[in-house]
Amino acid sequence: MRVSRSDPGQEHEATLIGRVNRGERELFYELIRPYEKRVFVIAFMILRNEADAEDAAQDAFLKALKYLAQFRAESRFSTWLIQVAINEARLRQRKSHFEIMRPIEDQENEDGTYTPRDIADWREIPSEALERKEIREKLIAALGSLAQKYREVFVLRDVEHMSIGDTAEALGISAGAVKTRLLRARLMLRDLLAPGLDGAWAGHSQIPKGTKPWS
């Protein structure tokens, strides 16, 4: 869709794809290396389980190898690969949970306005806090508590830094829907991460006034 022939990265990718398809299959490693983490992360945020996500990611790469000859340069290879990964994770999710396990929040109307909580003493969580495993786990739990449609958009745009357009294409939704869900996801996470509030971030522990749980 937006393939720019002047982009050397994409030209290199197109060359690699051609060579893999002509039989130099070991070049597939080089082709997918930049996207290993992205494929794992999207599978992880759909399935919310590391082992399942790794299996889904492996299956997605195998499937991408199998169907590489069908990849058409109208879209980016990375977007196509993410589509394959999302699909693999969703299939696995359907097989293991069926519909009854889908979070209730999926039913909510995303067009409704969301009112962010009034938090008087917002404090910044510094990036250095990510060095602590329990902080990362709480952030992952907060994101995992969102309905899937918000998790998927948020993880592609804000975790993996894909563009709005590529996120929309990967998920098969409009750019407008990406923006609406992104807004909601960011506001909900902001509320979940606010210190002192109940929820996935703060849990039920009482945080003494004036202290930062992450410092």
Partner: protein, 196 residues
């Protein structure tokens, strides 16, 4: 331009995307100077974007790369054949013997009709687009496809109870020589499962 808090909340994500016209951006910034609540929303959202966007946030599990390469190697190097040397020759011979045995065994048994007709009705190994909430699958880009979609293999689509689009997919399958007269019959009529 005077904004209400609700207007600010609606635009806060676009503010961070840099997706606002200059007048609206300026109005938001003026609002922030006077509204502690919206400042807190802005700072909180900024924090969310910064933290989750950090590379350290979701590292790959230890050994992920090696395990992935092991699985891919089975497929990539396994198909080169000769690279396995004598082991490969032995394995090929064993497989050939097994295949001969299996086909001899098959001939000695009556086969059900469905099994005999399977090769002609087997679906091509290609990715197709399934519209969410719909009942059909399409060649990506089919003009009769509307709304959100995801990609699955044709086999998966059929297994999940989706029917081929009577325009794009039927045409694609027929031109590829895959369609037999009963294609639209039993194979696509299986019950719709957890596909919505």
């Amino acid at each position: 331009m005077v904004l209400k808090c609700e207007d600010v909340w609606r635009e806060i994500s676009n503010y961070f995307e840099g997706d606002l016209d200059p007048a609206l951006k300026q109005a938001l910034e003026e609002h922030f100077t006077q509204c502690p609540r919206c400042q807190s929303v802005r700072d909180g959202v900024s924090n969310v974007i910064k933290l989750y966007g950090d590379k350290a946030m979701l590292p790959l599990p230890a050994g992920f790369d090696a395990r992935l390469h092991d699985r891919l190697a089975e497929r990539i190097e396994g198909q080169r054949g000769s690279s396995l040397g004598w082991l490969g020759v032995a394995a090929t011979a064993a497989l050939a013997a097994l295949t001969l045995f299996a086909s001899a065994h098959d001939r000695s048994l009556p086969q059900p009709r469905a099994q005999m007709s399977q090769p002609a009705r087997r679906l091509p190994q290609r990715l197709v687009a399934v519209v969410d909430g719909g009942k059909t699958f399409h060649v990506p880009g089919c003009p009769f496809m509307h709304g959100k979609y995801h990609m699955v293999t044709a086999e998966e689509a059929v297994r999940e109870g989706y029917a081929p689009c009577s325009r794009c997919m039927y045409e694609a399958l027929r031109s590829a020589g895959y369609v037999t007269p009963d294609f639209e019959g039993e194979e696509v009529a299986s019950s719709e499962t957890a596909a919505k």
